[in-house]
């Protein structure tokens, strides 16, 4: 049975519409040392296909086991093996130390990728002090496209290991025309000690 009010369909075929365009798909909470966190379409309620044109990951209180290590991501294409897709990216950051003197803004050529298959840094140099952590968001645009490369954009913040506020802007593309249906996150060394990663879908209608 459909419910239609004033010409607008509110409910049909077992689903309701008009309840917001940002849909929480999956939350993964890390509460003890974990080497990798993966979001795989069709597994554990994860949707990462053509259901949504834009996907958004949120990172909340990512805490690293090892000091000054980097929270990073890679992708895998549908039917592929390994998180090792070719990425070209840009990376710039700003920082300001708790001492009030250290500061800077600039491109960091050590943290971008140029047709490389390694993991892309998103939150660099997370301090592993008890209260140190990283936060931010990553947008993935139309990963199911088999025509275009898949673009991504991230904005993240952290209390850098040397006690500074640090903001990072990372953008680039996964240079493949195969659909992306798996994303993996990990630290550049050691484990993700704790943290929350959420996956949202953003509707186009």
């Amino acid at each position: 049975m459909a419910v239609i009010s004033n010409g607008t369909t509110l409910a049909d075929a077992g689903a309701m519409s008009g309840l917001g365009s940002l849909t929480l798909i999956k939350t993964i909470t890390v509460s003890s040392g974990t080497s990798t966190v993966s979001f795989v379409d069709g597994t554990s309620s994860v949707v990462l296909d053509n259901t949504y044109p834009i996907y958004k990951f949120e990172f909340i209180n990512i805490h690293a086991s090892n000091n000054t290590t980097h929270f990073s991501f890679q992708a895998n294409v549908a039917g592929g093996s390994g998180f090792n897709e070719t990425i070209t990216s840009t990376y710039f950051r700003a920082f300001h130390g708790e001492n009030g003197t250290d500061n800077g803004l600039g491109y960091d050529g050590n943290r971008d990728l140029g047709q490389a298959t390694g993991f892309q840094e998103l939150i660099s140099g997370i301090g592993n002090d008890t209260d140190g952590n990283g936060n931010g968001e990553l947008f993935l645009f139309n990963p199911s496209s088999t025509t275009f490369v898949t673009h991504f954009m991230a904005t993240t913040v952290t209390s850098y290991a040397d006690e500074a506020a640090r903001r990072m802007h990372v953008a680039g593309y996964i240079n493949t025309t195969a659909a992306i249906d798996e994303i993996q996150f990990k630290q550049s060394a050691g484990n993700i000690d704790s943290g929350i990663i959420k996956l949202y879908g953003i509707k186009d209608s």
Partner: protein
């Protein structure tokens, strides 16, 4: 009365069924300025959401050249959480002068309880305002420092006004929960404007 569609319960006993997928972004509060010293969100910030988002819509200052700023309440009644921030901006003036991208060292704080600026030198002409967003992560944590970041577009107070895109990040370097957020200008009132607070599921 329940509402069942295609065998799925959608509504029952005055509420949505728990199995219905709902939007993840919830409007919690709206605060509108009318020659206000500040706009304060003193309730609704707790462990319900891991992320809070504030949207600034047409924030207009009383006084020319002042700085829109934020502070946080961390356990007392005062908005004075210790914080370290960074700021950078890009700008381009209406005369097509040389644009730039720069770190703004004069408008940041380091381990300070003062309000943190989230723009600088905003213009107060009748048609000038600022708009943007501030994210606050897991303010109820009593373990981690509390990160925030903002992005605001505005017109500055220069004789030849600049379009400015300003980015601010930082953290409240406290383990106490943050349970209130206050926005103001460093001098003068918020003449008009609206701030909306959302919780992200």
């Amino acid at each position: 009365m329940g509402l069942i569609s295609n065998g799925t319960t959608l509504l029952d006993a005055g509420a949505l069924d728990g199995g219905v997928a709902t939007g993840a972004m919830t409007l919690l509060s709206t605060s509108t300025a009318s020659s206000s010293a500040n706009l304060t969100f003193a309730s609704g910030i707790n462990s319900t959401y891991k992320e809070y988002v504030f949207k600034f819509i047409d924030i207009h200052p009383q006084t020319n050249g002042k700085h829109f700023q934020v502070n946080f309440r961390d356990g007392s009644s005062a908005y004075d959480a210790t914080k370290t921030t960074l700021m950078f901006y890009s700008y381009h003036d209406e005369g097509d002068g040389t644009p730039a991208l720069a770190f703004v060292n004069s408008d940041v704080v380091a381990q300070s309880t003062d309000a943190g600026r989230i723009n600088t030198g905003q213009g107060s002409d009748n048609d000038e305002s600022c708009a943007g967003t501030l994210h606050l992560y897991n303010p109820s944590s009593t373990t981690f420092v509390k990160h925030f970041h903002s992005n605001i577009a505005y017109t500055d107070s220069s004789g030849t006004p600049n379009s400015i895109n300003v980015f601010v990040s930082g953290y409240c370097n406290v383990s106490a929960a943050i349970d209130g957020v206050q926005f103001s200008f460093n001098s003068g009132n918020i003449d008009s404007g609206t701030i909306k607070m959302y919780g992200i599921k």
